[in-house]
Amino acid sequence: MLDASRVEHRFRNGRGVGPVDLQVTAGERTAIMGANGAGKTTLLRILATATRPRKGTVEWCGTAVPRLARRWIGFAGDATPDDPGLTGRQSTYFWCRQWSAGSDIHRAVEETLGRLGLADVADEPISGYSFGMRRRLALAQALAHKPRIALLDEPTAGLDADGTASLSAELAMRAEAGDATLVASNDCAFVASACARVIFLNHGHVVADATPEALLASVGDARRVEMTIAENTAPRIGELQTIPGIANVSSTADVVTLDLVDDSALAAVVRTVDAWPGGLHALHIQRPDLSEVFRQLTGLALDHEGVQR
């Protein structure tokens, strides 16, 4: 359905993407993850025909001609809809018409607005929408015409829990219908639950391409413990390294981080730290997620990017 071969697009500052090979089949839900500047948005823009790659080729549903391919594509960039004076329904109808000449557009618009929780405000001017509502509207406008290939840049930015759940359901529905969806997102929880394939980009190159489950399995199931302590006790963290069942102890300023290989070691860790002057201020336990996998692969943090309001 989507076949990018040796695609490359570098800017003057060296940032950009490629060369990248990417094949997406019908019904696939794929996430592209990477640190800031990794090339996620550039890759998505190339696949959306907004940017012409300097090298390589892309085929969409069997055609390599962007003008012909656009009929199969739906794209939601990081901008929110700005149609002054128009209502959400009018704006969505307009964009749906630009993408599709189908006869059933009215129904498609109504259904999509309903699924994304905008039915009640569809007749209100967009100028009165909150940021989250505008983000939902942007997604509705990219998906209402039922594109074979949907490309969504940071789709969960600005969405509340309901919005994220609606989006996950939308992606699942598209997959059932055989339509492919690519999202550029660093929202680990969303990607792990809504996408069946994850591609890590680092400095424009693919460093991993697997299912979320396979990626998570690669780092084991050791829980990460993060403790906030009094700053002046940082030199005493060596005491923690003597406790059996923990690994990878490290500290930065007043935060101590370690991996809990054996859950029963947690009590000893808490007792030890709480006995220090100032004691334990805060404790956070987390199962390894995709950001941890990314960190281990690249040494970089996978920050969850927001969209500029």
């Binding site: 907004a50 901008a79 700005d82 002054p84 004076g85 128009l86 009018q90 307009f94 964009w95 018409r97």
Partner: protein
């Protein structure tokens, strides 16, 4: 109050299927702005006509008003659309870029024509206009508004923000208006006469002067032909350069 509520409901129920419809709907959804747009040209027009200003001056002012209304309005709205990401979104839809931009400038020209219609009505009421002269004036006015919108859109593609394109448009319009003889009249021979023959502003200026009872450079028939040619050239320009306007980042 009841009328306004009904109108608002009608505007909100209309579904824009094209850029043409969208632009008209956006304008209709802001009636207060439209009223202001209509009022400003009238404020300039009424004192000139009521004070029996020389036709040369009045013709010049109305032509400048038309050119500025069309070109500046289009340039600023295209620059804003680029800044808001609207053009980038349009550029990746399956619609032909030239066709999309043609829709845009056509709608924008209609809005501009609505804005300037009271000016024409006042001229027709207060000045001794023959029917052929009135027809010629209306058609060349529409054609010049259209081509001014096209020029404004194209200039906006080359410029930066809304403030920057305003200056760019003025730099383009000033020589066109000069060659159109707005400020100095047109010598009947030499290169300036040839320049005036292909400059739509010279025909509009002439049509205004004739409608106001002055001595015009071109007859009604020439103005009608110029109106058709201007519209055709404007449409061809927009179809050809629409891609540049839409895809410029």
């Amino acid at each position: 109050m009841m009328q306004t509520a009904i109108d608002k409901s009608l505007v909100r129920r209309a579904m824009p299927g094209s850029l043409f419809g969208r632009e008209l709907l956006v304008t209709a959804s802001r009636p207060r702005a439209l009223v202001l747009k209509v009022a400003i040209p009238l404020v300039l027009t009424l004192p000139l006509l009521a004070g029996h200003a020389p036709t040369f001056w009045s013709g010049m002012l109305f032509t400048v008003l038309t050119a500025m209304t069309g070109a500046v309005g289009a340039a600023i709205s295209v620059a804003r659309a680029r800044e808001s990401g609207l053009l980038a979104r349009l550029a990746i839809t399956p619609r032909a870029p030239g066709g999309a931009m043609l829709h845009w400038v056509a709608a924008s020209s209609i809005v501009d024509a609505v804005q300037l219609t009271p000016v024409l009505v006042v001229i027709f009421v207060l000045a001794p206009v023959t029917a052929p002269a009135a027809l010629a004036l209306v058609l060349i006015e529409l054609a010049v508004l259209f081509v001014a919108n096209v020029l404004g859109s194209v200039v906006a593609a080359a410029g930066g923000g809304a403030g920057e394109v305003l200056i760019d448009v003025l730099v383009l319009l000033a020589p066109l208006m000069f060659f159109g003889g707005l400020f100095t009249g047109i010598p009947r021979d030499g290169w300036r006469w040839i320049a005036a023959l292909v400059d739509p502003f010279s025909y509009l200026d002439s049509a205004f002067i004739r409608a106001l009872g002055g001595v015009a450079t071109f007859d009604d028939r020439s103005v009608l032909v110029a109106a058709l040619a201007t519209a055709a050239v404007g449409a061809a320009l927009m179809l050809g350069l629409g891609r540049v306007v839409l895809r410029r980042r």
